[in-house]
C-alpha cells in the first residue's frame, strides 16, 4: 500500500494509510526510511524497537525518531517493518541492510519528526497518518 508525499513548502509531508493502526505505522516507517535511503532490500540487518509514549501521536513521533537515530548512528537502510501496538506501547521488528552510498545514496536526510501537522484519524475502516518531517 503506497504512501503519498504531499506538498509542503519547506519540509516533506507524508500521508499514509493502513487497515490497522499498526499497518499505518509500518507504512509511515517505510515513507521516512525510503526518503533517506532509497533502493533498500531487507538483507540481514534486523533491529527490534520498543517505544512507550503518553498518546498515539507521541508513539508515532517517538517510533519514527528512533528509526532516524538507528539509521544514522548505525548506518542502516531500513525498508521492512512489523509493528505491534498494545495501548501506548509499540514493538517493531525493523529489517534492512547496511547503508552503502553506491546503492542508497542521493536521498534526503530527515532531521526530525515535527508535531506540527502530525495527525492520526480514521477514514472509513482505514487509519490515516499525516506526518511533517524536517529535511
Amino acid at each position: 500500500m503506497p504512501y503519498e508525499v504531499l506538498d509542503h513548502t519547506a519540509d516533506v509531508k507524508f500521508r499514509v494509510r493502513g487497515r490497522t493502526l499498526a499497518e499505518a505505522f509500518e507504512e509511515a516507517a517505510r515513507a521516512v526510511c525510503e526518503t533517506m535511503a532509497p533502493n533498500c532490500t531487507p538483507e540481514g540487518v534486523v533491529r527490534r524497537v520498543e517505544v512507550e509514549a503518553a498518546d498515539t501521536e507521541s508513539l508515532l513521533a517517538d517510533f519514527l525518531s528512533e528509526l532516524l537515530y538507528l539509521s544514522d548512528a548505525e548506518s542502516i537502510a531500513f525498508c521492512s517493518f512489523e509493528v505491534e501496538i498494545l495501548g501506548n506501547r509499540l514493538t517493531a521488528l525493523c529489517r534492512g541492510e547496511e547503508f552503502r552510498r553506491e546503492k542508497h545514496g542521493g536521498g534526503a536526510e530527515i532531521k526530525g519528526i515535527s508535531y506540527s501537522g502530525l495527525s492520526i484519524y480514521r477514514e472509513g475502516e482505514s487509519y490515516i497518518l499525516e506526518i511533517i518531517a524536517d529535511v
Binding site: 513548502t9 525518531s65 544514522d72 552510498r101 542521493g106 532531521k111 508535531y115
Partner: protein
C-alpha cells in the same frame, strides 16, 4: 493574507491580538508587495501561535523570508523575558546552529581556470550527502571538549588559524553549554559526523564578489570586487537533531507540568528558569558549539584544497564571518526605553547587531557585525551589516536566506536535475551533487528571489548591503 492582518508601513504588517485565541502580543512581519504573493496563510498562523507563548516581549516577529515551517514559522524571531518567559526547541529547529560562513581568498576569477577540477576536488574532500562520514575519529573526551569550546576546539587541534575565532558569532562557542544535557544517542551520532556537510539545502559554494555597495565596510570585512570567496552552509548534523528530539520530548511533559497552554505541540516549552528549560538551553548550546567546530573543520578541508590547487598560502584565506541561523540566546535589549534581559529565539533568522554593540569585537564597532545571506543554488548571495534599526525593531535580527516558495515534491515534478545542471553550466556555474533529485529539489526557481529579500531588509534598515556574491561552483549536500 488572513483576516485582520494590517499593513503598518510599506514593508511592515501586523497580526493583531485576537487573530488566534490567547495571543499576548501582536505579530509583526516584514514583506514587500512582490514577496507578499508567496506568503502562505500557515506561516501567519504560526506567527500568531508564537505570540501566545508566556513571557513574549513586544512582538512575535518574522523576517521577509518568512515561510511555513513547524513550531515557529521560518524567518521567525521572538524574545522572551528571562524571568517570566519560556524557551522552546520549536523556536530553534532540529538543525541547531545551522549557519553560514564566508571565507575570503587571494584569488580572482581569472585565476580559476580549472574550475571543474576545483569543484570535483572539493566534492571529494568534504564528506557530503546522506550517510557521509568524516575521516576523523573523535574520542569521547574530544567530543566533550568540542561541545564546550566550539570553533576554538577545531583551531586548537590544527583546523584553522587563531584569527578565525574572532570572526565567528559568539567567538564560535556559546557560553552555558552543558554536555550532561546531550544524550548518549546524540553523541553516538556526533562522533562520525563532525566535519561533514549533510544534505538538503546545505552547500559549499565558490563565489565571486560581483558588486560592492559599501566600500568602507567591505574593506574592513576583507572583500573586494572580483575576488573569489567560499561560502559554507551547514549545521550540527545528527548530534543537533537528536538534542532537539530528546528535549522536545522532555519539554512536552514540562509544558503540562507548568500548565502552559499552546496551540501547537511543536512549541513545547518550559520556563527559562526551570530545570527543563535550563537543560534544553545547555544541550542546545553544546550542539551549537559542535556546529561551529563542524564549519571550522570544513573550512580547513576547503583551504587545503585551494592551497594544493593554486599554490596559495593557508593564511591568505581569512574568515570574513560566521553566523548562526537557528539558535536561542540570552541577550540584553532596550525595550520601550528600558534594558531587558531576554532569550531571543531565531529560527531561520540571523543576528544583525548594529554599531557599538557591546557583544561585538571592537573591529566592528563602527560598521555593525557582518551578516551573510546565502542565495539559492545559482542565485546571488549577499554580505550585509547589522544596524541600529535592527536593535530597535527586531531584537538585532534580519533574514537568513531566500526562503522556499515551491515544495520539494513540486520541484521534482517541475524540473529535472540534469536540465538545471546543464542550464547552470551554460551560465558558468558548475554543480556537483550526490543525485539529480537533490539538484532539482534545490533549483533556483523554488526559492524567493534573494535580491528581493535583501532589498527589503536594506530598505527597512534592519541590515545594510555591503557586497553581492555570485556562484561559480556549487557542492550540494
Amino acid at each position: 493574507m488572513g483576516d485582520g492582518v494590517k499593513r503598518i508601513t510599506d514593508y511592515e504588517w501586523e497580526v493583531p491580538v485576537g487573530f488566534t485565541p490567547g495571543m499576548r502580543v501582536p505579530g509583526r512581519f516584514f514583506l514587500s508587495e512582490a514577496l507578499r504573493k508567496s506568503l502562505e496563510s500557515g506561516a501567519i498562523q504560526q506567527l500568531a501561535n508564537v505570540a501566545t507563548m508566556p513571557g513574549i516581549v513586544k512582538y512575535a516577529l518574522a523576517m521577509p523570508d518568512i515561510h511555513w515551517g513547524y513550531g515557529f514559522p521560518i524567518g521567525g524571531v521572538a524574545a522572551f523575558d528571562i524571568s517570566t518567559g519560556v524557551i522552546s526547541p520549536g523556536g530553534v529547529g532540529f538543525d541547531i546552529n545551522c549557519g553560514v560562513r564566508l571565507l575570503a581568498t587571494p584569488l580572482s576569477v581569472q585565476d580559476l581556470k580549472n574550475r571543474r577540477e576545483l569543484v570535483e576536488r572539493l566534492y571529494q574532500a568534504v564528506p557530503t550527502g546522506v550517510g557521509a562520514k568524516a575521516d576523523l575519529r573523535l574520542s569521547g573526551r574530544e567530543l566533550e571538549e568540542m561541545m564546550l569550546a566550539g570553533a576554538r576546539w577545531a583551531v586548537d587541534h590544527g583546523y584553522g588559524v587563531p584569527g578565525d575565532i574572532a570572526r565567528c558569532e559568539e567567538q564560535g562557542a556559546m557560553k552555558g553549554a552543558d554536555t550532561a544535557s546531550v544524550s548518549q544517542k546524540a553523541r553516538q551520532r556526533g562522533f562520525p559526523q563532525s566535519g561533514t556537510l549533510g544534505s538538503g539545502n546545505h552547500f559549499l559554494e565558490i563565489q565571486e564578489v560581483k558588486e560592492i555597495y559599501d566600500q568602507k565596510a567591505a574593506s574592513l570585512f576583507g572583500v573586494s570586487r572580483g575576488q573569489v570567496a567560499v561560502m559554507i552552509h551547514c549545521g550540527s548534523r545528527g548530534l543537533g537533531h537528536q538534542v532537539c528530539t530528546d528535549h522536545l520530548r522532555n519539554l512536552e511533559a514540562a509544558t503540562k507540568k507548568y500548565g502552559i497552554q499552546l496551540p501547537d505541540r511543536q512549541l513545547a516549552c518550559a520556563p527559562i528558569t526551570s530545570p527543563e528549560g535550563k537543560a534544553y538551553f545547555g544541550g542546545m548550546a553544546a550542539a551549537a558549539n559542535y556546529a561551529w567546530a563542524n564549519r571550522q573543520m570544513i573550512t580547513d578541508m576547503t583551504r587545503k584544497v585551494l592551497v594544493k590547487l593554486y599554490g596559495i598560502k593557508y593564511e591568505q584565506m581569512p574568515l570574513v564571518y560566521d553566523v548562526a541561523h537557528n539558535v536561542a540566546k540570552m541577550e540584553v535589549h532596550r525595550v520601550d526605553g528600558k534594558e531587558v534581559q531576554v532569550c531571543v529565539h531565531r529560527k531561520g533568522a540571523t543576528r544583525a547587531f548594529g554599531p557599538g554593540s557591546p557583544d561585538l569585537p571592537s573591529e566592528f564597532a563602527e560598521t555593525g557585525q557582518p551578516v551573510i545571506i546565502p542565495g539559492s543554488m545559482g542565485t546571488p548571495s549577499f554580505l550585509l551589516c547589522g544596524t541600529a534599526i535592527a536593535m530597535e525593531k527586531t531584537f538585532g535580527s534580519t533574514c537568513h536566506g531566500a526562503g522556499r516558495v515551491t515544495s520539494r515534491t513540486q520541484a521534482k515534478k517541475d524540473v529535472r536535475g540534469r536540465d538545471i545542471r546543464d542550464q547552470l553550466a551554460r551560465e558558468g556555474i558548475i554543480v556537483r551533487a550526490p543525485s539529480e533529485a537533490s539538484i532539482a529539489e534545490e533549483a533556483p526557481q523554488v526559492y524567493k528571489p534573494s535580491e528581493e529579500v535583501v532589498r527589503v531588509v536594506d530598505a527597512l534598515g534592519i541590515s545594510r548591503l555591503v557586497a553581492k556574491l555570485v556562484p561559480l561552483g556549487v557542492i550540494k549536500g
